[in-house]
């Protein structure tokens, strides 16, 4: 910058590679107006509608038994599906980032597949497999096992929807980090588990954490897929998003938005953690790889 400033007066340089001040102001105004209309106002509306009838109504809607059951079910479903996808993400990233093998690109595409499947279709395919008319339907009924319209169905649909999140965060970072450190550890006599725990894990821990956070946010908020497999039994198979739908359809708007505000709070927390983690990742990589 300073070298350029010696050659020409600063205002003229900035004129050439940026826009006039009025254009800048108009563009900023357009961008902010668009974001306000589609992002900020809806977010504010969730909290405003939730508190419209006062704090007492807000709290009553959250501690109501069906709401508490929905919160509990949402937490249980996330607590099962997130760790499973976390283990999968680490395994997939280890194979893809640390080894060179045939079919790697195909595998990467297949891992991303759940992103391009509609949540409703994700629910449908598990109905086709485990539902009464499905592949295992009769066998499950004969053995008195329930998957669809019960917790296992909700968990498996959630796993499908959140399948790629951890793997997607880890793979690019681990590929960028290469394998020299792991090879050095191996030569020095470390076992596979030691290499992973002492070398790889510290290098990727922030990206792993962010993948888990994203996976969790999506798991707790999933609506379409869970809606198909849950059966909407109040107090039993309703997750928080399904509970919101029922309240809303019963015109209990304040209560619906009260439960929704909890999920909106989770979303905001996710975004804050994202910023923190991104800074850590950038600091760890020295700002070079990301």
């Amino acid at each position: 910058m300073s070298a350029v400033a010696i050659v020409a007066a600063p205002p003229r340089v900035s004129e050439a590679t940026t826009e006039p001040a009025w254009v800048r102001r108009v563009l900023i105004a357009v961008a902010l107006a668009f974001l306000a209309l589609f992002l900020f106002v809806p977010l504010v509306a969730v909290f405003a509608e939730a508190l419209k009838k006062g704090v007492a109504v807000y709290l009553a809607a959250i501690v109501e038994p069906d709401a508490l059951a929905a919160i509990r079910l949402t937490i249980v479903a996330a607590a099962i599906s997130v760790p499973l996808n976390c283990v999968f993400g680490v395994a997939a990233a280890w194979a893809i980032a640390k080894f060179d093998f045939r079919g790697k690109n195909l595998l990467l595409t297949l891992i991303d597949l759940p992103f391009s499947v509609s949540p409703v279709i994700a629910g449908l395919i598990f109905v086709l497999v485990f539902g009464l008319q499905g592949w295992f339907g009769e066998w499950l009924r004969d053995h008195d096992l329930k998957i669809i319209f019960a917790l296992p169905g909700i968990v498996i649909a959630t796993i499908f929807i959140t399948f790629p999140f951890v793997a997607r965060e880890l793979i690019p970072l681990m590929q960028a980090q290469g394998i020299e450190q792991e090879e050095a550890a191996r030569v020095l006599g470390a076992s596979g588990w030691q290499i992973f725990r002492r070398v790889t894990l510290p290098n990727v821990r922030w990206a792993l954490l962010y993948g888990v956070i994203l996976c969790n946010a999506r798991a707790m908020g999933e609506f379409g897929a869970v809606s198909v497999v849950s059966g909407h039994i109040r107090g039993q198979t309703n997750t928080m998003p399904l509970h919101i739908e029922i309240l809303y359809n019963e015109y209990q708007f304040a209560a619906a938005f009260a439960v929704a505000s909890l999920l909106a709070g989770l979303a905001l927390l996710t975004l804050v953690l994202k910023i923190v983690v991104e800074r850590r990742v950038a600091a760890q990589a020295g700002g070079a790889t990301r």
């Binding site: 589609f38 809806p42 999968f88 609506f223």
Partner: protein, 277 residues
């Protein structure tokens, strides 16, 4: 064991390849591949005329038209405003820029049902925004478009951002020195460089919108033939115990998604090639 070793292109001293790849493939098959194949296998049990009738019934065709049309319109609007938003975030300094940057990801993090009821409340006749507008938004196809625009918003911004950040002043300086106006520089230099990323973002937003359910059903009103989207139609068929009918429509949508996925992969390869140059 032997099989996975045969896949390796290069020998590695690192352990754990068999276990990691084996587990990955097993988990992928159980959760994704086998269940997805169920949808296709189910349609094979239908006769061809039955399948054709299920996927071309007038109500289904109306739903395709709405879903694809509204998704396209939403992705188009997102491509334009996404470019503006991304440009402003990367190039300009203004108060609150970092907060705005972080909030762009909100549609990724906010559950779709929450977004759905919030947008419905805002755009209904007596809502904050709906009461200001001269036309109806909630419970019309316009409402569907609003919800899909919200859902697709981050895709264009996040795909463009790294490309715009990498775009250093040199080429723009060169264009300016050669006598180009700022508008010419944008149209002839900047736009061609960001086009692959812009198209990728557009395609990602479009693909996401095609399958979207949660944020749409509250605001759409769900009138058959008018404001009923395909995913809702699939659920309706399931609730009427028409599993083959629901599956047939799902297969059509899956094929559309897979074609889009291939297109997106191609676009991303093109983006990388452009950036690598």
């Amino acid at each position: 064991m032997v099989f996975s070793r045969a896949l390796l292109k290069r020998h590695s001293v690192l352990p754990g390849f068999d276990l990691a790849l084996g587990f990955t493939l097993l988990y992928l098959s159980c959760i994704v591949l086998v269940p997805l194949s169920a949808a296709f296998l189910k349609t094979f049990t239908m006769t061809w005329p039955a399948f054709w009738d299920a996927v071309t019934a007038p109500r289904v065709v109306a739903a395709y038209r709405l879903t694809f049309g509204a998704s396209f319109a939403a992705a188009l609007v997102n491509a334009f405003f996404g470019l503006v938003v991304c440009w402003v975030l990367v190039r300009y300094e203004f108060p609150g820029r970092r907060v705005v940057d972080a909030l762009v990801d909100l549609p990724f993090a906010l559950p779709t049902a929450v977004a759905g009821i919030a947008l419905t409340a805002l755009y209904s006749g007596n809502g904050w925004i709906g009461s200001l507008l001269p036309f109806k938004v909630s419970f019309t196809p316009v409402g569907v478009w609003v919800a899909l625009t919200f859902i697709g918003l981050p895709f264009v911004v996040r795909t463009l951002q790294p490309v715009l950040e990498d775009l250093h002043g040199e080429v723009e300086e060169a264009a300016a020195i050669l006598g180009a106006t700022r508008l010419q520089t944008f149209g002839r230099v900047i736009l061609p460089i960001v086009t692959p990323a812009l198209l990728t973002g557009f395609a990602l937003a479009f693909a996401r919108a095609l399958g979207e359910y949660g944020s749409v059903i509250f605001i759409a009103g769900n009138l058959p033939m008018v404001s009923e989207i395909v995913p809702l139609l699939i659920i309706t068929k399931l609730e009427q115990f028409d599993v083959p009918g629901a599956t047939a429509i799902a297969v059509v949508m899956l094929v559309a998604s897979f074609v889009l996925l291939l297109a997106i992969n191609g676009l991303q390869a093109w983006t990388r090639a452009r950036q690598g140059r």
